[in-house]
C-alpha cells in the first residue's frame, strides 16, 4: 500500500517538496520514515541558510541509522520546523503534514522539472521491493 500524495514532487533520495507560491515546503516521504524506523533526532539548517538542489541540507537520525537530507530545490531557508527538536517522532507519525522540515524561498522554480511526479516516485519505491 503506497502513501505518495499526488500533489507533491519527489527526489530519488526520498524527500518531497510542496510548492506554495514562490516557496516550497520540504520533508521526507512515508517510505523514507518507514525505512529509517523511529526518528530520534533531526538536524536542520537555520533560517537564512542557503540550500542547493540535490545537496545535503541536514541529517535525520533513527535509533539505528544516520541519513543525509538532500534539498529537492535551491533557495533560502525561511522557516524551520522547531517542533521536531522536541518531538522528532512526528516525522514518523505525519511525514507529509506536521513532520515537514523546512520551507525555502525557491531560487528557480524550473528546478521542479528535475523532480519526480508521484507516479514516478511510486515506481521507484515499488522497484525497491516495497
Amino acid at each position: 500500500m503506497s502513501n505518495v500524495p499526488a500533489d507533491l514532487r519527489y527526489t530519488r533520495e526520498h524527500e518531497w517538496a510542496r510548492v506554495e507560491g514562490d516557496r516550497a515546503r520540504i520533508g521526507i516521504t512515508a517510505f523514507a520514515q518507514e525505512q529509517l524506523g523511529d526518528v530520534v533526532f533531526v538536524e536542520l539548517p537555520k533560517v537564512g541558510a542557503r540550500v542547493t538542489a540535490m545537496q545535503g541540507f541536514g541529517v535525520v537520525e533513527s535509533v539505528k541509522a544516520v541519513s543525509d537530507l538532500f534539498a529537492p530545490l535551491s533557495g533560502e531557508v525561511v522557516e524551520v520546523n522547531d517542533d521536531l527538536a522536541k518531538k522528532p517522532e512526528t516525522v514518523n507519525a505525519d511525514p507529509y503534514g506536521q513532520g515537514w522540515m523546512i520551507v525555502i524561498r525557491c531560487a528557480d522554480l524550473r528546478e521542479l522539472d528535475a523532480l519526480m511526479s508521484a507516479a514516478d516516485y511510486e515506481k521507484l519505491i515499488a522497484a525497491a521491493g516495497h
Partner: protein, 373 residues
C-alpha cells in the same frame, strides 16, 4: 566494494518464519537472520518497561559440561567462582585470554553437582566452543546443544504473572539468578529468572521443535497484559539503559574485566583461571581507562565509533550509544581516561566533526527492577 567474506547463508532460529509472518524487519546479526523490530524499536522498548515483551534469542549458544572434572574445568576457564553455585543457581561470568582480554561474557548454570550449562553470545558460538574444548583440558564431557535449544525471553513487570499462569510450577518462588525445570503451556522448559533488560522476567530454554508453540501460547495468554514481540533493536536500547556490556561493542579481546567495570565477576581467591595473573597485574598497576556511562547535554546522538574528546583532545571512543526510550535522553558508554570517569566529568562526543557536550552520569541510566530477594 563487494563483501566476499560471507558465503555461508545466514542461520535461522526455529521462529524465523513466525517473525516474517508477523511482519518483522529481518537483519543479519552475528551470522543469523534476526528480527530487529516488529512495530518499532521505541514502542517495543516501552512495552517491556510498562508491560511485558517477548524476545526470540534462540540464536544464542548453549554448551553443557558433565563429569567429575566439570567443576574444575569451569573454574579454570571462567573468572567467577562456580563452586559457590548451588544446583539451580546461575551466575554471570567471563572467559578470558591469558593476557586478560575477554573471550566472551556468559551466564553459567549449575544443572547438577557435576553438570553445568554455559549460555554464550551467538556471534561467539564457534570461537567459544573451540576455546572451551581446547583450553578446558580436553573435549570429553562437553556437549554443544545450541542447535537443538531455543531460548525465549519474557521481560517486564507483567512477565511473572504471565509465565506463572502458564506454568505447571510456582515460578513466583524462583529467585533472581536461579532456575527450575517445569513446563510452560505444556512445553518442557528450563525456567531461568535472568534477563538483559533490567526488568523482572524469565529466559525460557526449550527444545527447538517446541519454540513456535510456546511463542504463540505466550502471545495469546499475554494479550490482555499488552504483550508485544520485541526485536534486537529494542533489546539493544534496553540493555544500554542498564549499562550492560555488549560483546563486540563494549567488551572484546582488547578490554580487560576491570576497566570494563566487571571486576565483581572476577574472583582470584577461588584459584587459578586463564587470565588471572594478567588481571591481577592490572589491578596492582591501577586502571588507565574505565568504561563510563554518559549522557549528552544537548540533543544529539552518540554512536559506536564516535570519538570522545576532553577539551578537544581525543581521549577515547564511544562503544555504545543511542537514544534511551524510557529515560528519554541520549546516552552512551565508552572508555575514558580513569581521571575522567568520575560522575560529573565533562567531555565531548565528536558528532559529524563537531564536539557535542556530554557528562559522565551515574549508571544504570534506568533503575533496575529485577526481583532481588
Amino acid at each position: 566494494m563487494t563483501d566476499n567474506t560471507r558465503t555461508a547463508p545466514l542461520r535461522r532460529t526455529p521462529l524465523h518464519d513466525v517473525h516474517v509472518k508477523a511482519g518483522a524487519r529481518m537483519v543479519p546479526f552475528g551470522g543469523w537472520e534476526m528480527p530487529v523490530q516488529y512495530t518499532g524499536i521505541i514502542e517495543e522498548h516501552r512495552a517491556v518497561r510498562r508491560a511485558v515483551g517477548l524476545f526470540d534469542i534462540s540464536h544464542m549458544g548453549e554448551f553443557e559440561i558433565e563429569g567429575p572434572a566439570a567443576l574444575a574445568t569451569v573454574q579454570r576457564l571462567a573468572t567467577n567462582d562456580a563452586s559457590s553455585l548451588a544446583v539451580g543457581q546461575v551466575q554471570y561470568t567471563l572467559l578470558c585470554y591469558p593476557d586478560g582480554g575477554i573471550v566472551d561474557d556468559l551466564t553459567l548454570y549449575r544443572l547438577g553437582d557435576a553438570r553445568f550449562m554455559l549460555t554464550v553470545n551467538a556471534a561467539n558460538i564457534d570461537k567459544d566452543w573451540t576455546w572451551v574444548t581446547e583450553r578446558g583440558g580436553g573435549a570429553s564431557g562437553w556437549r554443544n546443544v545450541s542447535d537443538e535449544t531455543a531460548l525465549l525471553a519474557v521481560q517486564g513487570p507483567r512477565a511473572e504473572g504471565l509465565v506463572h499462569r502458564l506454568a505447571d510450577c510456582d515460578v513466583t518462588r524462583v529467585a533472581y539468578y536461579h532456575f527450575l525445570r517445569g513446563t510452560i503451556a505444556g512445553v518442557p522448559a528450563l525456567i531461568s529468572r535472568t534477563g538483559y533488560t533490567g526488568e523482572d522476567g524469565f529466559e525460557l530454554y526449550v527444545p527447538g521443535s517446541r519454540a513456535e508453540a510456546l511463542w504463540y501460547a505466550l502471545l495469546d495468554a499475554g494479550r490482555a497484559d499488552g504483550i508485544q514481540p520485541v526485536g534486537l533493536g529494542a533489546r539493544d536500547t534496553l540493555r544500554l539503559e542498564m549499562k550492560f556490556a555488549l560483546y563486540g561493542n563494549d567488551i572484546d579481546q582488547t578490554t580487560n574485566p576491570l576497566e570494563a567495570g566487571l571486576g565483581w565477576v572476577v574472583r582470584p581467591a577461588k584459584g587459578d583461571f586463564i587470565g588471572r595473573s594478567a588481571i591481577e597485574a592490572v589491578r596492582a598497576q591501577g586502571l588507565t581507562r574505565k568504561l563510563a556511562g554518559f549522557e549528552m547535554v544537548e540533543p544529539s546522538v552518540p554512536r559506536h565509533g564516535y570519538r570522545l574528546l576532553d577539551n578537544g583532545a581525543p581521549v577515547g571512543v564511544v562503544t555504545s550509544g543511542s537514544f534511551g526510550p524510557a529515560v528519554e535522553r541520549y546516552i552512551g558508554m565508552g572508555y575514558v581516561p580513569a581521571a575522567l570517569a568520575a560522575v560529573g566529568s565533562e567531555l565531548q562526543v565528536e558528532i559529524r566533526g563537531k564536539p557535542q557536550p556530554a557528562r559522565v552520569v551515574r549508571t544504570p541510566f534506568y533503575p533496575s527492577r529485577v526481583k532481588k530477594a
